[in-house]
Every structure is written in C-alpha cells, then in structure tokens.
C-alpha cells in the first residue's frame, strides 16, 4: 500500500508540493518562534555570565541588579571586599534610557556602568570620559557617536550578544563616567558584583546568578508564553492544512478505496494508504521548515537562536501532527463501502 500511496502522491504532486510548502512555512515559523524564545532565555544567561560573578549584592528589598529600584552606595564595595573569601567586588550601575542610533529611530537601551572592563568583540574599553562600548545589535560602528543622557559619547569598542529584555541593547562604560552623566558624580550603584563568597552587610541581600537570570526572564515571561501560545496555534494550522489536503484526497479516492476493499484490502491497508501520505507530507514539510528558518533567521530584528534539538523535534512534531491531521481522511477512507465499486 506504500507504493500505491506514493504513486498517488506522484500523480497529485502539484497539490502535495503546495501543501508541503504551506505546512513547511508554518513549521518554519514555529522554528523561528522557538529560536526567538531560546534567544530570550539565552541573552539573559549570556548577559549575567558576562560579569563572571559568583554572587550579587543588591539593596535589601530590591528586585535585582538589572531591574534597579533602589540605589546603594558604591563605598559598600570596599567593606565587602575586606571580607574573607571575597576575591573581588565591582560596583554596577544600571540606567535605562533611550538613544537615537539613526535619525528618527529612537530605541531603548540599558546603560551599564561597571568597575571592571567587560569582554569585547572589537575595539577597546573606554579610557576616558565620553567614551562607551556598545552591543553589536545597536549597529553603531566604532568611531561613531551617540547622544546619551544629554551628552555626546563616542563608540570605542563592541560587545557581542550582551542584551536583555527581548533584545534591548546594552551600552557600557566605566561606572565613574556613568555616575557623572546620570547622578552628577555621586558614588551610587545598583548592585555589587562579587567574585568569591560574601556575607551580605546590613541593608543588602545576596542573589545567585540563577536568581539574577530569573529577574531578567520574569520581565519577558508574558512574551515567552505568548510565543508558546502562537506555537500551538501554528501547529493547529499545520495539522489543519494536512487534514484538509488528505480529506480531499480521501474524498476523491473513494472509488479507489471501494475497489481495493472489494478486492480484499483490509482496513489497515486503507489506513496505510492515507497515513503514508501524511508521513511523507509531514516529513517533507519538516525539511522545508528547516530551510525556511535558516533563510529567514538573519532577517529577524532580534537574534534567533534555534536550539539544535528543535530540528529533530520538528520532524517528530510534524509526524504526530500529520497523523492527527489525517485522521478525518483515514476515517473517511476506512469507512468506504466496497459496494460503491459497483455500478457505472
């Protein structure tokens, strides 16, 4: 029956190719959404890892270093640094603002003032006031200038993949320079980045890296669950396309199935005749979806990082949806009365 199913596919190839492309596009979009979800999680992890912290100290009752609602004194860093087991403490000041990388295009950025230089993908760390490094997603080349917090600053270095809150880019500079721009030179910070283990002084609380990542992903939880919901809707659409195509085919092949049953074909033979087409259609759509996702990912405004496991998984999901989608057609085919084979 596999050969009958494949021959029929061959005969109706235009329809099936159209269906494969349509379902492949839908699956491709689910892969891209999956990549988008993954990049939301990954960027938070990457940004936290950039600081090579063992733990974070923030104001007691504060929500987190990257979601500052209380400022602390930078001078506390010296006190913590003196604790046994602490190798280093760097103050971190976080300011959310907006910049205009291109005329007429204002975007939100997170400005990080740090005590230590952050890892760069190009250029150098700012050596003097009025210099910054930017995440490459901002598309501001080294040597260009940006108006930020009421001052013109020059880009001297680039970071890669340092963003959070769904691709909001980071601009970094020494904390003293940011204190000058933001707080009139006051020695304030949002958090202390601790290497080693510290006991939180009075008025502070310690947070682990996982807790800090949690503060970043919490803010985009709604977006992530919306993406998951869209995924499910797209799967339903894919199953619907497969189901419609196979049901139409089953309707058109009613006489074929009647003749096959009159010749002695059993229900499982008829099941295979439709299900085999669902399998072929789904797997072909899975292949198309990978091509689609690879082709479209670079043109997305946010980095799309499709997890490696998603590629084999899309075939499993496609197969399952294909078989579910084909149920109506299978039922129709299996229920065909062989007596229909008689008559003109």
């Amino acid at each position: 029956m596999w050969s009958i199913a494949l021959r029929d596919l061959q005969m109706r190839r235009r329809r099936f190719i159209t269906a494969v492309i349509a379902v492949g596009l839908v699956f491709g979009i689910t892969l891209l959404l999956d990549g988008f979800s993954a990049s939301l999680r990954n960027e938070a992890a990457r940004t936290v890892a950039t600081f090579k912290a063992d733990e974070w100290l923030v104001s007691a009752g504060g929500s987190g270093p990257f979601t500052p609602d209380h400022l602390i004194s930078q001078d506390a860093a010296a006190q913590v640094r003196a604790q046994p087991g602490v190798r280093n403490v760097d103050p971190l000041l976080v300011v959310a603002t907006a910049v205009q990388p291109k005329p007429g295009n204002r975007v939100n950025v997170n400005v990080l003032g740090t005590g230590d230089a952050l890892p760069l993908s190009g250029g150098r760390w700012p050596a003097r006031s009025g210099e910054v490094v930017v995440n490459d997603g901002l598309n501001k080349p080294i040597g260009s200038t940006i108006s930020m917090l009421g001052a013109q600053v020059r880009v001297v270095g680039e970071m890669h993949g340092v963003s959070y809150f769904a691709g909001t880019n980071v601009i970094a500079l020494p904390i003293s320079a940011l204190q000058q721009l933001f707080a009139g030179g006051q020695r304030v910070a949002s958090a202390l980045v601790v290497r080693g283990h510290a006991t939180a002084p009075s008025g502070f609380q310690a947070m682990t890296n996982a807790e800090v990542r949690g503060t970043l992903t919490r803010a985009i939880k709604v977006a992530a669950s919306t993406v998951s919901f869209l995924d499910i809707l797209l799967w339903i659409v894919a199953a619907g396309i497969i189901g419609t195509i196979l049901y139409m085919t089953a309707l058109e092949r009613t006489r074929d199935f009647a003749a096959l049953k009159a010749m002695g074909a059993r229900n499982h033979h008829v099941f295979v005749a439709i299900a085999a087409q669902a399998v072929v259609l789904s797997l072909a759509a899975g292949l198309v979806s990978i091509v689609v996702s690879k082709a479209l990912a670079p043109s997305f405004p946010i980095t799309v990082e499709v997890p490696t496991r998603s590629y084999p998984l899309i075939f499993v999901v496609a197969l399952a949806l294909g078989l579910v989608g084909s149920l109506a057609g299978v039922r129709r085919a299996v229920a065909t009365d062989p007596a229909l084979a008689f008559g003109g």
Binding site: I4, Q10, M263, G264, A265, P338, A341, F342, G343
Partner: protein, 325 residues
C-alpha cells in the same frame, strides 16, 4: 489475442445460490430485487445474469462477491458459505476466491497497467518481483504486453477493461464476476472483451456476467433472467372475494393482473424500512389499481390489502385496456 488463459485456474468449486433474498431500503421504501433465487452453477460454466436496469443483477453480483449481505438464503462457493463470512475470512475470500471486473473498470489512475494487476497479489502478500512477473504474463495473455507501463488515462476503454480482466485473475480465483463488462465499450472493443470473457470459463473457474446486453447471449452456458417474466397473465376476468385484512398481492410480487373494485375498499400500502407502512391509496367501488406492473413488467410497488370485506375483478392487461377504451 491469446485464445485461452490456461494458468489461472482455481479449484473445482461449485456455486450454489439457495433461496436468496436481498432486501434494502431505497428512499425509505423496502425494495426486494432478489426474492427467493435458487441457482446451481458447476465449475467451468459462464452464467449470464440478464435483465433491465434495477432488476438486481449488480446486487446479486455484490452478494456473490461477499460485499452485500443478503436478507435471507445463502451462497456457497465450494465448501465456503459466502454469506456467513466476516473479518479476515471475508477479506481472504474477496482476495483469493473471487475476481471482480467492475463496470467502470476501477483501475487506480496513478498506477500503470502492470502495477494495477499487481495490486491484488501484493495485498495477498506475494513478493514484488513475483507479482510483477505474473502481472506481465497476465497482461500479455490479454494482448496488452505493449501497454504494460501505460496508465489508465493513456488507454482506451477496451484496453482498460482487459487490464481489469487481467487483475481479476491475479490470485487465481475460482469465481470471476463481471459487472456490465460491455457498458462502456464501443462495438469494436466489445468483440475483444466478449472473446476474452468466453476463454475465462474453464474447469476450475466459474464466470458470472451481469448484463443487459443481449449480444452476450451466445457466450453463456446458462442465462438467468432476472426481469419478472410473469407479467401480463392472460385469461378471462375473475371475480375475487376478499375478507377484511386479506392480502391480494404483496410489494415485490411479480405483477400479473389489473384489478377493479366492485364492492368494499382495498388499500394499497407501501412498506417502509424506517417506520410504519404508508397508505398510497384506498380504492373504492369503480376504481382500479395495479395496471403499471403488468404494463412495464415491473414487480408490485405496493401491497394490496382489503380494508373491508371486498369484491374485486381481476383482468388480463389487454382485456382491461379494451374495457377501458
């Protein structure tokens, strides 16, 4: 064309049809195209089921193919009670014991001629290479060796019919059923198919052909007329006394006479399959009923039953019409 197909021979099974009645619902009304049919066909015979459209030829063929369950009676092919089959045994019977040549050929449009003939063999579990080899041989037997790889759309009606014949022989059945095999063919193609059908009936195989094409009559070892023959029984008018509730004739009975009501009332009721019977008319003194059956050689379409004690006169159709004019 090759004269005989000698290799595809099954067992010496006889076909026995015993008191077969088939009733089904048509538009809610009970229709009984086959009513108490008896038939005995020895192996090697070609039987022609002859009759007009709607007389039950295809219905009978479907029952022989174990596709339609009769309402009563049974069909035996050798030791197999065809009417009692179910599940795997039923599928196995259709696959190995019967070959069907459908009126519309029913070839799978996506498959070539040789692949179509392979289908029953592949369903029966024959290996691909063996099935292909036998399919080629069968197609060469029906003079289609040059069309092995053509699809149905690229073949004439006669060629498609011959592919269907080759397919019906694929699993060496002992019963071959052909439903109106000449219905979609022109006269040139009919000749080839007639010759081929004749060669199929040989010891070990029975061929049953349903048709309304009387050109096939010389083919047959036996002809079964399914159109009611009793229409228009002659004879002088007869007076019939009926008690209340007495049945004059039943729905599906052969139609012989026309009736006029002299006294009382006779109701004509139609049996429904989905509920109570339906009263078609009530004939009162001076009214007549039952003239269409004898006129068109159709079975009775309703049951006539006396509603009260009644007297009716039974007429031969010719006398009735003369009286009417």
């Amino acid at each position: 064309m090759t004269e005989t197909i000698t290799e595809a021979v099954g067992t010496d099974d006889e076909l026995v049809v015993d008191q077969l009645t088939i009733e089904y619902s048509s538009g809610g009304y009970a229709v009984r195209p086959i009513d108490g049919l008896d038939l005995h066909v020895p192996s090697g015979q070609l039987v022609l089921l002859l009759g007009a459209s709607g007389c039950g030829k295809t219905t009978l063929l479907s029952s022989m193919a174990a596709i339609l369950k009769p309402s009563a009676g049974r069909i035996m092919l050798g030791q197999t009670d065809v009417t009692a089959l179910s599940g795997a045994a039923l599928a196995n019977y259709r696959l190995r014991k019967v070959g069907v040549i459908f009126q519309s050929f029913n070839l799978l449009a996506s498959l070539t001629a040789v692949e179509n003939v392979m289908v029953p063999m592949r369903l029966a579990g024959v290996r691909g290479s063996a099935a292909r080899r036998r399919a080629r041989e069968l197609l060469e037997h029906v003079d289609l060796g040059h069309r092995l790889d053509h699809r149905p759309d690229d073949m004439s009606g006669g060629q498609q019919q011959r592919v269907a014949i080759a397919r019906s022989l694929a699993n060496e059945p002992s019963l071959v059923l052909a439903d109106e095999p000449t219905a979609h063919l022109d006269y040139v193609q009919v000749e080839g198919v007639i010759q081929l059908l004749r060669t199929l009936a040989q010891p070990g195989r029975i061929v049953v052909v349903s048709t309304h094409d009387e050109r096939l009559l010389p083919l047959a070892d036996r002809v079964v007329e399914l159109t009611p023959q009793a229409a228009g029984r002659e004879g002088p008018p007869e007076r019939v006394e009926l008690s209340a509730g007495e049945v004059l004739f039943r729905q599906g009975d052969p139609a012989e006479r026309v009736f006029t009501v002299e006294a009382g009332e006779v109701e004509l009721v139609r049996e429904r399959t989905d509920g109570p019977e339906e009263v078609v008319m009530v004939a009162a003194p001076g009214q007549y009923f039952g003239e269409l059956g004898p006129m068109f050689r159709l079975p009775r379409s309703a049951t006539a039953r006396a509603r009260t004690d009644s007297t009716v006169t039974s007429w031969a159709l010719r006398d009735f019409r003369r009286r009417d004019s």
